[in-house]
């Protein structure tokens, strides 16, 4: 295994508190919520596993009363179990929908889409799964519309609602320290005070590239 300190990006002289802080930051970064229905979900899960192991190794090495395998207090970043693919859901849905979910978790979007297209019952589940397929492809506007329809048809379904919220709410996503919650279209945000334009390389030779402030 690689150097656990290197994985958490802290020196081996870091205090327990510093190690914990570094771990938390990384765990926020690679949290499954940030990669839900991304084609890179598996890579984020690997990263998460790696930092969990690194953290546990350091704490074990230090033996400072943390107990083996403990994650930091309040830490609920226990990997991917809660997001383990679509096969786990859908007990009440009919067999066809289960097949679609299975195809999606295999990453076989083509089959999933085909199975969906031959179903005539366009209920909440149908629109939800259609939305998931769109989201996997990166078709985020159509994903949102399908989730919205799913939520209208099956109001109160927590899974559909969560999918819609995850796609729409910018505030939840990870941002590095020092970066505010930026969104497009909020006229009152920080951008007014930020540089908006680069001056490109200038053939008249007044020193080339520079930053202008609006």
């Amino acid at each position: 295994m690689n150097d656990p300190y290197k994985i958490l990006n802290v020196p081996s002289t870091a205090t327990d508190e510093e190690v914990k802080k570094a771990y938390r930051e990384l765990a926020r970064k690679y949290h499954p919520d940030n990669y839900h229905d991304s084609p890179l979900e598996d890579l984020a899960q690997e990263k998460m596993k790696e930092i969990n192991e690194a953290y546990d190794t350091i704490m074990k090495m230090r033996g400072s009363g943390h107990g083996a395998g403990s994650s930091p207090s309040g830490g609920s970043y226990s990997g991917s179990s809660a997001y383990g693919g679509y096969g786990a859901y859908g007990t009440q849905a009919n067999a066809r929908f289960r097949e679609v979910r299975a195809a999606i978790s295999r990453g076989d979007l083509h089959t999933a889409e085909h199975l969906l297209s031959i179903l005539s019952d366009h209920n909440g589940e149908w629109y939800f799964l259609k939305g998931v397929i769109c989201q996997r492809r990166g078709w985020l506007d159509e994903a949102r519309r399908n989730y919205e329809t799913a939520c209208q048809l099956s109001p109160g379904n927590p899974e559909y609602l969560q999918a819609l919220e995850r796609l729409s709410s910018a505030g939840q996503a990870y941002r590095p320290e020092g970066y505010e919650v930026f969104t497009t279209g909020c006229s009152d945000n920080m951008c007014g005070r930020l540089a908006c334009a680069y001056c490109l390389c200038n053939a008249l030779g007044c020193g080339g590239v520079r930053f202008l402030w609006c």
Partner: protein, 296 residues
């Protein structure tokens, strides 16, 4: 590409800013060496950002050039990543100009055509080096033309063509993991660029009747997006930026990390904001007024 990709300078140290400029100059020199002086005019910050995504380590050197004939500048030394960024820039610009010539009439048609011809030789060489990317570009632009002719009312379908086109640059990389990450990052960069460009052209297209998916997807209030339509547009732009950021975090971009980070966590949001507010070109205009010629 259209010049929408900007970093957020306030998040960069002087050294990082300097490095980005050196990369810009390095790409310019690479274009000049590979494709001749004319090709250098296609340079912009979108392509420089692409070079940052593709570059690993960087070595710099001091060089003079047309834009700075007396004082030597720090320039990124030419390397494989810059070569690839230059080749991709040539292919994309060539097809974009061809597209522009097909889209418009009269004088500008001839203008586009003339520049495309100037780039013709450079394009043939770049296409020979990257036949797969060239074929993907050609295929996706054809797909886009079909959707335009059908007046497709979806945002995602036409955006998907440009997104895939840019995503296919990842196919030129060696490492399979890097390929996957870059494909996702470039897909959403392409999607975002396409949609921001459509947003930018909204008023013009509303008047001229040119194809614009945003006009067909939403009902507009006096040529502007308001209420839920505006909210849905913003939400979909932001969602793509978040996908880019999530992809960025999975790969080590070395010295380019601060530039990419400041772009995907701030710069793109600010550009989107300026486009939405209609202030993007006023900022540009101010820049244009200070230095008449923006390209080398």
């Amino acid at each position: 590409m259209f010049g929408y990709v900007r970093a957020a300078p306030d998040k960069l140290t002087a050294e990082e800013e300097q490095r980005y400029r050196a990369l810009y100059c390095g790409l310019c020199h690479t274009l000049g060496r590979r494709y001749g002086a004319v090709s250098r005019m296609i340079l912009n910050y979108d392509f420089t950002f692409l070079a940052a995504l593709l570059s690993g380590a960087i070595k710099t050197e001091e060089r003079r050039c047309v834009a700075s004939p007396v004082k030597k500048r720090t320039v990124a030394r030419e390397n494989e990543a810059l070569d690839l960024a230059a080749d991709v820039s040539v292919i994309l610009t060539y097809w974009k100009l061809r597209d522009g010539a097909a889209d418009s009439g009269g004088l500008s048609r001839r203008g586009y055509g003339a520049v495309a011809r100037l780039l013709g030789r450079a394009y043939r060489e770049a296409a020979r080096l990257h036949p797969d990317f060239d074929a993907a570009t050609c295929r996706e632009l054809e797909r886009l033309a079909t959707l335009e002719a059908e007046r497709c009312p979806s945002l995602d379908k036409p955006a998907d063509t440009f997104a895939r086109l840019l995503g296919s640059v990842a196919g030129e990389l060696q490492d399979p993991i890097q390929q996957r990450i870059m494909e996702q990052l470039l897909y959403h960069l392409g999607r975002w660029i396409y949609l921001v460009d459509a947003l930018d052209d909204l008023k013009e297209d509303a008047e001229s009747g040119n194809y614009n998916p945003i006009l067909l997807r939403f009902s507009l209030d006096n040529g502007t997006l308001t209420g839920p339509a505006r909210e849905a547009m913003v939400s979909t732009l932001d969602a793509s930026i978040r996908q880019m950021a999530a992809a960025y975090e999975l790969w080590d971009f070395g010295v380019w990390s601060p530039i990419i980070r400041s772009t995907v966590y701030q710069g793109l949001y600010c550009v989107g904001n300026a486009v939405l507010e209609g202030t993007f070109h006023t900022a540009e205009g101010r820049r244009g007024a200070r230095g008449k010629k923006e390209q080398v």
